[in-house]
Amino acid sequence: MSFLAKVAALATSAILLWAALEKARDLSPTAATIRRLGVPGSLAWPAAFLVTAAELVVAVAVLFRPDTAMTQAGIVALAGLFALAGWIAWRRGEAIPCNCFGAGSKDLGVSQMLAFLPWLAAAGVLRLGAPRPTAAAAAAAFAVISLLLAAIQGFAVRKAWIEARGDRRSAQETYPWLPQH
């Protein structure tokens, strides 16, 4: 159970960290989603900030104190919030962008409701068998996950950089043929 709990903690933390990072870069898509779910416009931005901050806090708490009821409740609360958003969008039959992992994600709906189950399972596994890690072990896991996320983004940047270079060089070839003004 301890091994399973460690895997659940790492996976939960990585997913929540990724979601928080993508939202943190630009809160406006998340605020727009919250507004479309029926929250008044003036509260949408604070709500977007709170959701992002809660994801970050729970992600870190899952690594450092997975054994506490507070952390496990945090996972369930966030998952419940996501499922509620999915349910509202599904009930209205509207295509509301999820922006779960930043702008460009799919629409809210059944996926978020179904995802409630694995979230709940992760919280349950932590409840049943998560040991309290040492500060060094938790910090090491935090560092590894963070470096992994940075590396994934770094590879995406490298690919985009190579494509942009190709586009630039290609465009450069056409300059001599463009009409002069």
Binding site: L17, A136, A143, A160, T174
Partner: protein
């Protein structure tokens, strides 16, 4: 102490991930602008229909291509500006596995195009340059746009793509691997 250092590393890595994400957005923005302007270095696949899997010679292309293990046949036109850019940018003499078919309105316009871009060093065009005066070859293959490159594998036409730039053309040229050398290198240029 170790925990603090690791946590600091994690925070820095998260910041780095955020910066990478912002940079990625910027690249995507620029790509969107280029897409709108139509200056993406993105080749488009061309459906060659019944020509796929056929021998080049039945379309009027040189018989030597029927025995080519791997080659590129680049269709250019004397009326296409991108074709001029490609002709100007291609290495001279032509790379070993590159053949050029030039659709031209007249013998004069063909000669003018070829000499302007160093593809007619003497009185005649280079050996792997074919002039398609009446558009017979292009018509037989079913081609109505340029620049297009056809890929040949084991003596048959396999598929075709548009050629947005000479950078792209260079990147798709077959590179035979020569054994016995100190390293893998691009095939030597020049006429066989």
């Amino acid at each position: 102490m170790a925990a603090a250092a690791l946590t600091a590393t994690a925070v820095l890595a998260l910041l780095l991930a955020v910066f990478f994400g912002a940079l990625l957005e910027m690249f995507r923005d620029v790509r969107q602008l280029r897409d709108a302007l139509g200056i993406l270095d993105r080749p488009l696949s061309v459906d060659i229909g019944a020509a796929a899997g056929t021998r080049p010679s039945i379309h009027g292309l040189p018989r030597a291509l029927d025995s080519a293990a791997a080659a590129i046949v680049l269709f250019l036109s004397d009326r296409c500006e991108t074709c001029r850019a490609l002709a100007a940018g291609v290495a001279k003499p032509l790379p070993e596995n590159l053949w050029i078919v030039l659709e031209a309105r007249s013998p004069d316009s063909a000669a003018s195009f070829l000499s302007a871009h160093g593809l007619m060093p003497g009185a005649a065009p280079e050996e792997r340059v074919v002039v398609d005066l009446a558009g017979e070859i292009a018509g037989h293959v079913g081609l109505n746009t340029t620049p297009i490159c056809f890929r040949l594998q084991d003596g048959v036409l396999t598929h075709a793509t548009t050629v947005p730039s000479s950078r792209y053309l260079t990147s798709i040229l077959p590179m035979p691997i020569r054994l016995g050398g100190s390293s893998t290198r691009r095939s030597s240029y020049g006429n066989a």
